[in-house]
């Protein structure tokens, strides 16, 4: 880590410790916007990391952005920073400046394009998006749509949209957004290839979730370690029990594995935002949860199962985030498609990232 990066991490962690406390997380789950947290991150320039200054960003690279997201996960920060970064990335890649407002993004299904029709000096928009992160708090939404001429990425103001509130298992806002023939005077649109955008959203979103999940895993691990170090049972500290040790080692293993996986995926992202490493990472992280959450709750026992304790801030987020931007089956299919294109005995080339010199194959 460079000095600059260390500074970013330190500042972020300081803000999170102050403004993403237990009580704030709990309140946010009841629908209250964590304003101070968001505003502080904004004030420190954290919302526009990894965007060049000429596009109104604050510079830095994707590694910086994902390092911040890791902390977001670790502190269960109840704000849509990941969505903000995804939108930044899409705009930036299209050569557009990033915005000052919070913009959310619609689901990634490309079967459900928004309909955008010219009318008078404005536009009529129809469409529906389910499970939109934090929509109720957003000023605008980035959607995939089609006009009479072509397919577009469109930035729609949410003022006249209907929003039906919902939430995921972690109490994070996941709303339904309806545009029912809404007249909009001005829309920013950009012609795009839909498949390509959908893929980029899925992979970028998948990577944000993977990174946040490993952050949450770090917290889970820390809480577990603290618990077994401090508590005793049958007259012995918990960490001395072999059953506890066997559990703890498995948690450590899953953390170390997912940590390596996402770091490798982040490394790949700058070169290729739809790299196979991202698919591997999200799948690997998702798979960890089935093991990790029950073990952590088993070790922390009744106490960790209470609202009072903060373990559930992490475990419920892990349960929620694994469903978002691709669950296991989605990523399995993506990877399996690559496998299907291999020649005989070529799996090893895919794993090592080195093609056999004697044969050439197109491996994404």
């Amino acid at each position: 880590m460079s000095e600059m990066q260390e500074m970013i991490m330190e500042s972020t962690e300081k803000i999170l410790k102050e403004y993403s406390k237990k009580e704030i997380v709990n309140e946010a789950e009841n629908g209250i916007w964590a304003k101070e947290l968001w505003d502080n991150l904004e004030a420190y320039g954290m919302l526009k990391v990894a965007v060049p200054e000429e596009l109104m960003g604050n510079g830095g690279d994707q590694y910086d952005a994902f390092s911040i997201l890791y902390l977001i996960g670790k502190y269960s920060a109840p704000i849509p920073l990941a969505e903000n970064y995804i939108v930044n990335k899409l705009l930036m890649d299209l050569g557009e400046s990033v915005q000052d407002e919070f913009i959310t993004i619609s689901a990634t299904e490309h079967k459900n394009l928004f309909q955008i029709r010219e009318k008078d000096d404005g536009w009529i928009v129809s469409g529906k998006a389910k499970y939109v992160p934090w929509a109720r708090f957003a000023q605008k939404i980035l959607v995939l749509g089609e006009t009479e001429e072509d397919t577009k990425l469109a930035l729609l103001p949410l003022d006249n949209a209907k929003i039906k509130e919902g939430k995921n298992l972690a109490g994070e806002a996941r709303d339904e957004v309806f545009f029912d023939n809404v007249y909009v005077e001005e829309i920013k649109t950009k012609s795009v290839d839909i498949e390509e955008q959908v893929e980029k959203i899925l992979y970028t979103g998948g990577l944000t979730r993977s990174v946040m999940m490993v952050g949450a895993l770090e917290n889970l691990l820390a809480l577990t370690k603290e618990h077994i170090s401090e508590r005793s049972q049958f007259g012995r500290p918990l960490y001395r029990f072999q059953a506890v040790q066997q559990h703890m080692a498995q948690l450590a293993g899953e953390f170390a594995a997912t940590n390596v996986a996402v770091k490798n995926a982040i490394s790949s992202y700058e070169k290729n935002p739809v790299s196979k490493e991202i698919a591997f990472a999200k799948l690997r992280v998702n798979e960890a949860i089935e093991k990790v959450n029950p073990i952590a709750h088993q070790i922390l026992a009744a106490i960790g199962f209470t609202f009072e304790h903060t373990l559930h801030h992490s475990t419920r987020r892990l349960w929620s985030w694994r469903e978002e931007f691709g669950k296991e089956s989605d990523w399995e299919q993506i990877i399996a498609k690559d496998l299907m294109n291999l020649n005989q005995n070529e799996l090893w080339s895919l794993i090592t990232n080195v093609e056999n010199s004697s044969q050439k194959v197109d491996v994404k």
């Binding site: 770090e218 691990l221 820390a222 370690k225 077994i228 170090s229 960490y239 072999q242 506890v244 040790q245 066997q246 703890m248 080692a249 498995q250 450590a252 293993g253 953390f255 170390a256 594995a257 997912t258 940590n259 390596v260 996986a261 770091k263 490798n264 490394s267 490493e277 698919a279 591997f280 799948l283 690997r284 798979e287 296991e328 089956s329 990523w331 399995e332 299919q333 993506i334 990877i335 399996a336 496998l339 299907m340 291999l342 005989q344 005995n345 799996l347 090893w348 895919l350 794993i351 090592t352 990232n353 080195v354 056999n356 010199s357 004697s358």
Partner: protein, 384 residues
Amino acid sequence: MKALRIPVVELPKETEALRNEIRAFIKEELESGSIAPSCDSWLCGFSPELSKKIGEKGWIGMTWPAEYGGKERTSIERYVVTEELLAAGAPVAAHWIADRQSGPLFLKFGTEKQKHFFLPKIARGECYFSIGLSEPNAGSDLAAIKTKAEKVEGGWLLNGSKIWTSGAHLAHYMITLCRTSPQDINNRHAGMSQLVVDLSAPGVTIRPIHLMTGEHHFNEVFFEDVFIPDNMVVGKIGNGWAQGMTELAYERSGPERILSTYPLLNELTNTLIENKDEKGLNEVSKVVTRLWTLRNMSLGIAKLLEEGIPSSLIASLVKDLGTQFEQRMAEITRLLVSAIPSINSESKLEKLMAQAMLQSPGFTLRGGTTEILRGIVAKGVVKA
């Protein structure tokens, strides 16, 4: 949790050429029929012919100084060589221990004479070692060993026995952990030393221990007044435990803890692709994802070792995860194909399945059982 963070390794471009060189070598050997891929080939695949060829290529002892027959290449390059050989299921058992463990031990603790004597022979693929650690009634509890050496003129007289020594019947030497002072209850690890035993010396008896597969890889080795000259003591008398633990660091997180059943995964993937079995490949994608992750962990630790930052915590952790992975491979395979594992089948897949299944119990026992490893990890995490 800094202790659990493993660095990302970007393999240098140069290693691609090396990789392709090895692949070409293996391809030739496969095509000439001199080798056939098998599971667990680093334990079960004993081929002095292949070991000599690999030695000629400069792929044994390749990180060692040139004066001892080494090629002064990086640990990462050595990693590439070993993983390519294992992924191909090549029979590399003959030189495996000597290259991985005995050579580095000499380099670190051996005398100049020992280094000049043993290392070039090892590097040529002509000199094989085995490890004398476990004893009956001292499986995971190594501190309980009883084999002892008594000082006599010009050397030591060794008595006792070692068990589960793989390849002792084929190797030339064994590095033997033994007591050179009586057992001390207050310091269970004191008074041990490492001696090089010439396995052809008088007083050495080797009794085969057949595995449940019927195969003979393991042995019980008995020492009856075996004379070990002073110049065959490795390192310092009394320092054997510490030296032995250093040795273990080399063996915990290498590719052989991940790839023992890779030939089966490769054949399974081949089969499913041939059958255009999408559902099957969905399952394999999970396996590949785990393997990709494990390899990145193992590589990251290799880099840390190269930088002189050994960690028994993460090495133990990777060995645990890796060997669980190896062990599950046959189980995963049988649910995806209609093949029935059989050691004498004509189908490559059925044969590899049988190997992977029958060898599977060993993966999570050798070099530290799952339970022992998890204890090490948990204690490491609590202390970290």
